[in-house]
Every structure is written in C-alpha cells, then in structure tokens.
C-alpha cells in the first residue's frame, strides 16, 4: 500500500510564487501524470515530492506520513530523471547497486536484486558497460532499473522520454505502461507531452501558472475540459475556439456563428444550459468532431449541425488529413479521413458534432 496526498502546497522563490496551493492525491497503484507547458511548476512539484526542494507551506504525505522535512533518502521513493542522471564513472551494475551500497544492503542481496531487475528490463548484457557506451534507449532502461531495484513506495518520473527520438519515445512509452501494469506501484509522472499523459495516466493533473487547472481521468479531461486552457492544451491539433452568441430557435437554445457571406448560422445546442448562461459564449470544437456533411452522417449522429466553410489549406499526415477551414473571419482546423479529404479552395458543407462540443464562458474561461 502506498498513497500520496498533497494539501494546499505552496512554493515561493523570494517573492515569486511558483506553486499556488496544490491539492492532489494518488491512490495505491495509481499512475498520476502532471502535465503542463514549461514553467507551469510541474517539475518543481515533483522535486518537492522527492524532497529535493523545500516546502514553503502546505503538506506532502506519503502513506499518511507527513514528509515535508524528511530527507529524500528517507522518503522511500525512486526517481527517473530527464537526463537519466546515470553516474558516468560507474558501470551499469554499479549504477544500479549504488543506492543499496549507500544503504548497506548485504552483497548477496544486492546481486540478487540486480539479477532480478536486469532480467526484468532485459539489460543483462549491459551490466559491465559504462553509461557513455549506451544508446539513449539503453540509458533509459538502466535509469528505470536503478529506480526499480529499490522497490520504493513511490515512483517519480521527470520527463523521462523527452531526450529520445520520436520512434523510441513511443516504444518506451509502451514499455513504461507495461512496467506499471506489472509492478503496480504508485507513480507520479511529469511530462509536457499531452499524448504521454493521455496514454499512461490513470488520472491527469493539468497545471498552468502554478496551479492545477483540472485533476481527473484522461477521458474527462479530454471530453469535458474544465476551462479553455485545459481544452486548448490537451489534444493535437488543438481544440477550435469560436466566439458565438446564444439565442433561441424554435424553443431550443442555439449558438449563432458568423459565416463567410456576413450572415449568421445557428447551431442548436444539445446539452441543457443553466439559467445564468451568459449570452456571449465561446464554442469549443475538437478537429475530429468536424465532418463532411452528408445524409448518412445526419442519420448516424443526431447532434450534427451544418455550416459552410472554405478550405484554406490541406495538410496530409498519412493516417489522416488536417484541413484549415475558413469560417467567417475565423480559421478552424478539421481532421478528416484521407479518403474524404476536401480540396484546397473548395467550399464544403461541414457537419459539426454538437453533442461533443464544449461551451465556455469567455470572461471566466470556464466550461459551461
């Protein structure tokens, strides 16, 4: 059993407030991702959990024990660094045993642990090498081995994949996910890559400017983002934001969007709106919820609203094609199947899945 509880945690550097009251908790065996743009405070938060940074106020508890002023080595944690931080003058074996040596674990026990971890990560042939003789992926494995060998209460990962090339990153992401399934340890994982967060985490904390914007399961974060920051940060290409006005058409609430020819088009809202909904709204639509409209689509998806747009630019990626579409004065991005890709310059009738659309209050930026 190991849990992590963080309550109204703050961190100041002089007068600069880096963390502004963080609340987080991880259940036993959970995989928590801290995600956000650089400078959001996620790495500082992780360093504070590790005990490498002091706490200004608030509390950090590991398994219920207050660890605010406990030394890193006594917190029973293991950490994987972005730079891997392998000791360059030691062999892989010595890197892995360094922690046990420091803790005076008897030699036979050390050998046993190294054997177990090396087999687990398939790094047996590397044990005699120095870190300088390893590839990026191998270093990554050794760094994980060094963390795994301890059997700690808490695993901390600080952007462990950002130094790898794109293909290896995807492979190692899968490895980490498998590893977590097999080991089942409570994990906190810092990343700026929202795809990593989505694929790995059981819950994601999206951070921005020193506070947690939303802390929830990946699906909820993606489908019902708490505010415009979360909506814009999670997902690539990013969610389209369109200023719109709330009105009513045939007793149903609709949002009116300006179109290319200067008129407005009303899109009926599927969700039920609270009575204090402001008249000016921001409509958020993910690129994959924009389709080419056809009768079949209308039949399959009841919440489809139709609107005309001009295709400005087409970006094929192979598996799918992104298209930049002009809608009145705004440009939006749509994600299309390569087969049904619109052509540049063409005017297409789009079907927007209003059942999946998000409405935001432009002043508070919060989800309605």
């Amino acid at each position: 059993m190991s849990t992590l509880t963080i309550r109204s945690l703050r961190k100041n550097y002089g007068t600069v407030e880096v963390l502004k009251g963080i609340d987080l908790e991880a259940q036993n065996g959970e995989f928590i991702a801290l995600v956000g743009p650089s400078g959001c405070g996620k790495s500082t938060l992780l360093a504070m959990i590790a005990g490498l940074e002091t706490v200004t106020s608030g509390e950090i508890r590991i398994d219920g024990r207050l660890v605010n002023s406990v030394a890193p080595k006594d917190r029973d944690i293991a950490m994987v660094f972005q730079s891997y931080a392998l000791y360059p003058t030691m062999t892989v074996r010595e890197n892995i045993t360094f922690g046990m040596e420091s803790r005076r674990v008897p030699k036979p026990q050390q050998d046993e642990a190294v054997k177990r971890v090396a087999a687990f990560l398939q790094i047996e042939p590397l044990l005699g090498r120095k870190p300088g003789q390893l590839s990026g992926g191998q270093r990554q494995r050794v760094a994980m081995g060094r963390a795994l060998v301890r059997d700690p209460k808490l695993f901390l990962f600080d952007e462990p994949l950002s130094n790898l090339d794109a293909k290896l990153r995807v492979d190692m992401r899968t490895e980490i996910k498998k590893l977590h399934h097999r080991v089942g340890k409570t994990t906190v994982y810092v990343t700026h890559d929202q795809v990593e967060a989505m694929t790995l985490a059981s819950r994601i904390a999206v951070m921005h400017q020193g506070s947690v914007q939303q802390f929830d399961e990946p699906a909820t974060i993606y489908n019902r983002p708490a505010n415009m920051f979360v909506a814009g940060f999670m997902g690539s290409p990013a969610m389209n934001f369109l200023p719109a006005e709330l009105s009513e058409e045939g007793g149903r609430p609709t949002v009116a969007l300006p179109t290319a020819d200067g008129k407005t088009v009303g899109l009926s809202v599927v969700q039920t709106l609270p009575s204090d909904t402001p008249r000016q709204l921001v409509l958020g639509i993910r690129p994959e919820h924009i389709y080419r409209s056809d009768p079949d689509l209308q039949r399959r998806k009841p919440g489809i609203a139709q609107i005309d747009a001009v295709v400005e630019l087409v970006e094929p990626t192979g598996a799918e094609t992104m298209a930049v579409l002009r809608l009145g004065a705004k440009e939006i991005t749509g994600r299309f199947d390569p087969d049904g890709t619109p052509r540049m310059g063409e005017t297409v009738t789009l079907g927007i899945d209003m059942a999946r659309a998000c409405l935001f209050d432009p002043t508070t930026q919060r989800l309605i």
Partner: protein
C-alpha cells in the same frame, strides 16, 4: 572527347598551382615557428652548455660559445659542495626545502580547493555566491600587498623563518585559484547526478568521494600542475620570510649569484639554475598534455 582531355589537363594544372601555393605558405609558417622557437630556446641552451663546461674555458671564450670539454663537476658542486654565504653544502638543502614546502602546500591547497569548489557549485547556500566572489578577489591581489599582514601573522604563530610558515602562506594564497578552477569545473557536472545520489541515500561525503572525485582528474591535474610550479617558482615570500638554510631554492639561487667570491663560477651557477628549474620542467613534460586537456574539457563528454 577532346574537351574532356583539355578540362582534365586544366584541372591538373590548377591543382599543381594550388599545391605549390599551399607548400609555400606552410614553409613560411614553419620557418617563422622555428625562428621563434630558437629565440626561446637559445638562453636555455646557453645555460645547459655552460653547466657542462669548465669555468676557465668559459672565462676564456665567453658565455656564448660551444664547449670543448664535457664535465659533470659543476653539477655535483652546485648540488653538494659549493659555498653559499659561508656554508658549503651546495643547493641540496634548499632543494629539499623547496620540496618540503611545495608538496604539502600543493596537496593541501588542491584538496581544500576541490572541497570549496564542490560546496560552492553543488551545495549552494544563502550567500555562497558572495563568498565565492570574495575568494576570487584573492586571485587579483598581488603578493606584495599581503607581505606585511603575513609578517605579522607568521610572527604571532612563531613560524617566521620556517618552511611551515611558507606552507601556510602558499596554501592560503593558493586557495583562491584552486577554488576557482574546481568550482568552475564542477558547475558543469549536472545537478541531476547529485539529486539522484541523494535519493539513492548518499550523503555529502559519499557523493564527493564516489561521484565528484572520479570525475575530477582533469581539473585536479590542472590545479596540481598550476600550484606545484607556482609555489616552486615563487620567490618573494621565500626571500622575505626565510634566510640561510631555511630558504627555498629560488631564494638560494639569488644568494648564490650574490655570494661575494671574486670569480663568478658560471658553470656552477648554470648547473644550480638548472637544478632549480628541473622539477617544474619535469612536471610540465609529463603533465602538460593533461594540463591543456583539463583546461579545455568539460566534466562530462
């Protein structure tokens, strides 16, 4: 076909011209280098030749002339029997004085510098940067300024006219340099290593011993060479704070040239100078390569 042949011969001619020009530039460059090397080496050559010559021959032919004889007598005189200021035991005592001063002072100042550098780069604390700046001042303060304070301190410690007194001076005067060298080198060791080691349960000393020291050899070689040659060649403190049998070799060399016999024994003086210059020379010979490497290379490739 014809065009191709023509092109080829043109190419060939252009290549020959380029090769000749390259050769001429090289010739000029190497010629200049040889001239300058000779300018630097001639004085050394004169001293070396005189140290193996006969004094009478030098008196007859002048300092700058090729020797007719080859004798080692001047060396043995300079080492063990030549009279300086009334005592006739040559330079050996002063040579040992220099060793007894230089070796401990080098080891202690390098060790302290490495510790300082480790703390100032990896265990920063409030005011550590200010402290470092203050220590740096020592690099820029000339030795003459500290003569009076040192006289006062050595007097109070009862270390006047002793090798220990000189050790104290050289350790403290050297710490600025060694700290600067080590601190700047250790800054390039990633902090993540220290963090990882702390999580691994290693403390201040274990991190220093197991992680920092094994990475330090380039900079330690640099500081040792720098300190050794600097302290060995130092003259001012040696001549001011010691006299007679306590003097290091640099101070004794001057005493030797000033000692009031009528005939100037150029052969013995030359040998004595070379004995005095030998240790730093050897250090450079064996360590020079590492010196340059250590100064230019970071901690982690």
């Amino acid at each position: 076909m014809v065009d191709a042949a023509l092109d080829q011969s043109l190419d060939h001619r252009a290549a020959t011209v380029a090769a000749r020009r390259h050769f001429l530039t090289r010739l000029v460059i190497y010629g200049l280098l040889v001239v300058f090397a000779a300018i630097y080496l001639v004085p050394l050559l004169v001293v070396v030749l005189n140290s193996f010559s006969d004094q009478q021959e030098i008196a007859r032919n002048g300092l700058i002339s090729l020797p007719r004889s080859f004798r080692l007598e001047a060396w043995s005189q300079a080492w063990s029997t030549y009279c300086i200021g009334g005592t006739c035991e040559g330079m050996q005592r002063n040579f040992y004085n220099s060793l007894k001063m230089t070796i401990p002072a080098t080891i202690i100042s390098t060790t302290v510098g490495a510790m300082n550098g480790y703390i100032l780069s990896k265990w920063r604390f409030k005011g550590s940067e200010a402290l470092f700046t203050c220590m740096l001042l020592g690099v820029f303060i000339p030795g003459q300024i500290s003569l009076m304070p040192w006289a006062f301190i050595l007097g109070n410690l009862g270390l006047s006219n002793t090798t220990y007194g000189l050790i104290v001076i050289h350790v403290i005067q050297g710490i600025s340099f060694t700290t600067l060298f080590c601190r700047n080198y250790y800054v390039s060791i990633p902090d993540d290593l220290i963090k990882a080691a702390r999580i691994d349960g290693a403390g201040f000393w274990r991190i220093f011993r197991k992680i920092i020291l094994p990475l330090s050899s380039p900079i330690l070689i640099v500081t040792v060479i720098w300190q050794f040659t600097g302290i060995w060649n130092e003259y001012l403190f040696g001549v001011v704070f010691t006299s007679g049998q306590q003097q290091p070799i640099t101070a004794a060399l001057v005493a030797l040239t000033a000692s009031g016999t009528n005939v100037r024994a150029y052969d013995v003086m030359s040998a004595a100078v070379l004995i005095g210059a030998l240790p730093p020379l050897l250090i450079y010979l064996f360590g020079g390569k590492y010196f340059v490497r250590g100064l230019t290379q970071g901690a982690i490739k």
